[in-house]
């Protein structure tokens, strides 16, 4: 590949050419460049509607790419240091599920930490894989699960030599990274595939002074959420693969569930986001880091809050920390993270990513402006001044290690009954219960419901967390296995 090739954006060029050709559309979408839906066109703009086209000869087809999409994917692969890159338009969820369904067939084992996104365990419900959970470190004070140690990975591999793959978060939602390089050496030694959930790590590939990316560490497959920190449109994502992966089989797996009408708006955004990151990524993430480092120092200077960062590194459960994540521990001012989240939203018109029991997380990017960073800091100061209270009576620790009784798929499809939440202690859960975000299940299908977990769920609900995953939309009832 020529040196300057990354300034190209093949899909972008093809779309522009298509628009200028004024092709007569007798195909879907029926809005025909927006003319069939004036109100939407007026709101979104004509260009946007005109780019919303279906696959056709000059624009290629995502299900079986041979033209400009293939070229755009090749440029993306090069940019991420992967052998292959697949554009995904059904969210990173689809990328995560495709790589898991590629790696494990029904009843095969996969080794993974429990603090994964729901999409991971969903893939096991759909695909029938059997999870073997790694012990993650837990930070008692912050109440969050950390990364996994390389030793623990090796131990679990030796205990489960029949497992097919290992999956690692790189990083976790809170920015915590495991020693992915050593873990990749271990999985190679044992002939297992290593998968990375890089939903929160797209920037690792393009910035300086950031944790190691999965591809650079030798990981076999990685699901990268371009739309989270990479600047593409929501729901667009890439799945990366190394030469150890059979790309044609992987494409088949992706096509099992991915739409056959892939959105050109989403794919275009992937093409241009990749180009932008290659051209400007270093600068973008340098600015991001400056913003976050400033905000973190200021917030730590306010007193009461703890904006944590790389001091958490212990070279075991926390090998590295993604400093672009602004995670703030709020429990010392007597407020749950979720309460701070709600006050910021309702009183200060500031929307952050999420609040859990003890922390909040704000996503900072180069798209922010200094004045908005100041607003966030000042609002946190005001919240402390106006609302801080005694912290006694607050829930101590967030992360509860679940007890797995049955594999997720078996539990999900078993005969079940609906019970009032408070009557569920000792039963086996057949569905998910989680706060969203972060979307890490509190309970997954096949896990035993304990008093402590029920207490935690009530507390989270009481503090305003949105619970979901259960058939009962209010999560007052939980479906448990019939005994």
């Amino acid at each position: 590949m020529k040196e300057r090739d990354f300034f190209k954006a093949p899909l972008f060029d093809a779309l522009k050419k298509h628009l200028s050709n004024r092709v007569v559309p007798f195909d879907v979408p029926g809005h025909k460049g927006g003319r069939g839906n004036r109100e939407l066109t007026e709101f979104l703009g004509e260009t946007c509607m005109k780019c919303d086209v279906n696959s056709m000869k000059p624009l290629d087809n995502l299900c079986n790419p041979e033209g400009v999409i293939k070229e755009a994917q090749a440029l993306a692969a090069e940019a991420f240091g992967a052998k292959e890159a697949f554009f995904i338009v059904n969210g990173t969820t689809a990328a995560v599920q495709a790589m898991i369904m590629y790696a494990v067939k029904p009843k095969e084992k996969i080794i993974l930490p429990r603090n994964v996104h729901r999409s991971v365990i969903n893939a096991l419900v759909v695909g029938g894989g059997i999870p073997v959970y790694l012990d993650t470190g837990i930070n008692e004070k912050l109440g969050i699960a950390l990364g996994v140690s390389a030793e623990e990975v090796e131990r679990k591999i030796k205990q489960n030599p029949d497992a097919k793959a290992v999956l690692i978060n790189n990083p976790t939602y809170y920015g915590i990274c495991s020693d992915i390089k050593r873990i990749s050496e271990i999985t190679k030694k044992h002939n297992m595939l290593l998968l990375a959930d890089e939903a929160h790590g797209a920037h690792f590939y393009f910035g300086d002074n950031l944790p190691l990316s999965a591809m650079a560490a030798g990981v076999d497959l990685s699901a990268v959420s371009m739309h989270k920190t990479g600047g593409s449109l929501t729901q667009s994502s890439v799945l990366l693969a190394r030469e150890t992966v059979n790309a044609d089989y992987l494409r088949q797996i992706i096509n099992l569930t991915q739409t056959t009408s892939a959105s050109y708006l989403l794919m275009l955004s992937l093409d241009l986001a990749r180009k932008n990151l290659q051209q400007n990524g270093k600068e973008i993430f340098k600015k991001t880091l400056e913003f976050v480092n400033y905000a973190r120092d200021e917030i730590n200077g306010l007193g009461g809050y703890y904006a944590f960062a790389d001091e958490l590194i212990d070279n075991k459960y926390v090998f590295d920390f993604d400093k672009t994540k602004l995670s703030v521990y709020t429990r010392d001012i007597g407020l749950a993270g979720r309460e701070v989240y709600d006050i910021l939203r309702d009183d200060y018109n500031i929307q952050i990513e999420f609040g859990d029991i003890a922390n909040i997380l704000a996503i900072i990017s180069a798209g922010d402006r200094a004045l908005e960073i100041e607003r966030l800091i000042s609002a946190l100061f005001e919240i402390k001044r106006l609302y801080s209270k005694d912290k006694s009576g607050m829930f101590e620790s967030e992360y509860i290690v679940p007890k797995v009784v049955l594999p997720p798929q078996q539990a999900f499809y078993s005969d079940k009954i609906s019970l009032k939440r408070e009557e569920c202690a000792g039963k086996i859960c057949s569905e998910f219960v989680m706060c969203y975000p972060p979307g890490i299940p509190i309970l997954a299908p096949g896990e035993e419901i304990t008093d402590k977990i029920l207490e935690y769920i009530s507390y989270a609900k009481d503090k305003g967390c949105q619970l979901l995953g259960t058939e009962d939309i209010k999560a007052d009832y939980i479906k448990v296995l019939k005994e």
């Binding site: 009183d347 004045l371 100041e374």
Partner: protein, 280 residues
């Protein structure tokens, strides 16, 4: 040749002033700063194309943002002014002997430099020894201050640019904290007339109301601002704006072109549609 400066007051309403010549055009880190000489309004200053002050009518704005709170507070000594790099507000404050210190916080140093050089009518007191200028973000500055000021004057640009943070609840809350127990906050409060301005005005009022026990709005007629009808916010911990010692203020013999103590009381009497907007 005809040279016109135009500002869109709404997408469909345009306000234009015929220009004699352009004096300055400079891009700072924050905004574009222009100064023109016009025929009917004298020298004018614009930021990012929005008119800030004109030589002819700036007295109205600066007198009203300053003398209203100064006539109410019995002894305002320590004053914080945020924004106001043109110096007009400081010029009015310097007319009071009781004032001991004025902290001026302007985010854009270039505005002060340009005004010192080309807008002496307003910038004339920026070198007064009571004045200390800080070039930083107003929100950040005030966040770090507690129980310090008798009066805070927020002489900001519109809330659609660098001035955005100065219309927020966190800003007013920080000001509350930075004021003494009997402190007063006065702010540029936008116009009630055109819908977009009115919306900003309502938001600002709602945010002030959430923070200060006493909150009133007063008005002035400023010919070159959108619709000409302009509002100011008067927020206070203790003194009502009607707590006004007319005799004492008039004895100061401060020469004004717009403000007087009768107008002071009248300025708080608002048209019905404005009252409705404020209560809405």
């Amino acid at each position: 040749m005809e040279l016109w400066y135009s500002e869109n007051h709404t997408p469909n309403v345009k306000f234009s002033i015929k220009i004699d010549k352009q004096i300055v055009s400079v891009q700072s880190d924050f905004q574009r700063i222009d100064i023109f000489d016009s025929f009917d309004f004298g020298r004018i200053l614009t930021l990012d194309g929005f008119l800030m002050i004109t030589e002819k009518d700036e007295f109205i704005y600066h007198e009203m943002i300053t003398h209203v709170p100064m006539a109410v507070h019995p002894n305002a000594q320590n004053i914080l002014v945020i924004g106001a790099g043109d110096g007009g507000t400081v010029r009015e404050l310097c007319k009071y002997k009781c004032v001991k210190s004025i902290d001026l916080v302007e985010i854009d140093k270039k505005v002060v430099e340009v005004c010192k050089k080309h807008f002496n009518q307003t910038a004339c007191k920026l070198n007064d020894k009571r004045v200390k200028i800080y070039y930083e973000d107003g929100l950040k500055f005030v966040r770090n201050k507690t129980d310090l000021y008798d009066l805070i004057i927020v002489d900001s640009t519109d809330p659609f640019g660098p001035g955005e943070g100065l219309f927020t609840r966190e800003f007013y809350g920080s000001c509350f904290k930075a004021l003494k127990d009997d402190g007063i906050l006065v702010n540029q409060h936008e116009s009630p007339y055109y819908p977009q301005d009115a919306k900003a005005m309502q938001r600002a009022h709602k945010n002030i109301k959430a923070v200060f026990p006493l909150h009133k709005v007063y008005q002035a007629h400023i010919p070159t601002y959108p619709s000409g009808h302009w509002l100011f916010g008067f927020a206070s911990k203790k003194y009502s704006p009607y707590y006004l010692n007319k005799e004492k203020w008039n004895k100061l013999k401060i020469k004004t072109g717009y403000y007087n103590t009768e107008l002071h009381e009248g300025a708080f009497k608002l048209p019905n549609y404005v009252k409705e907007l404020l209560n809405g």
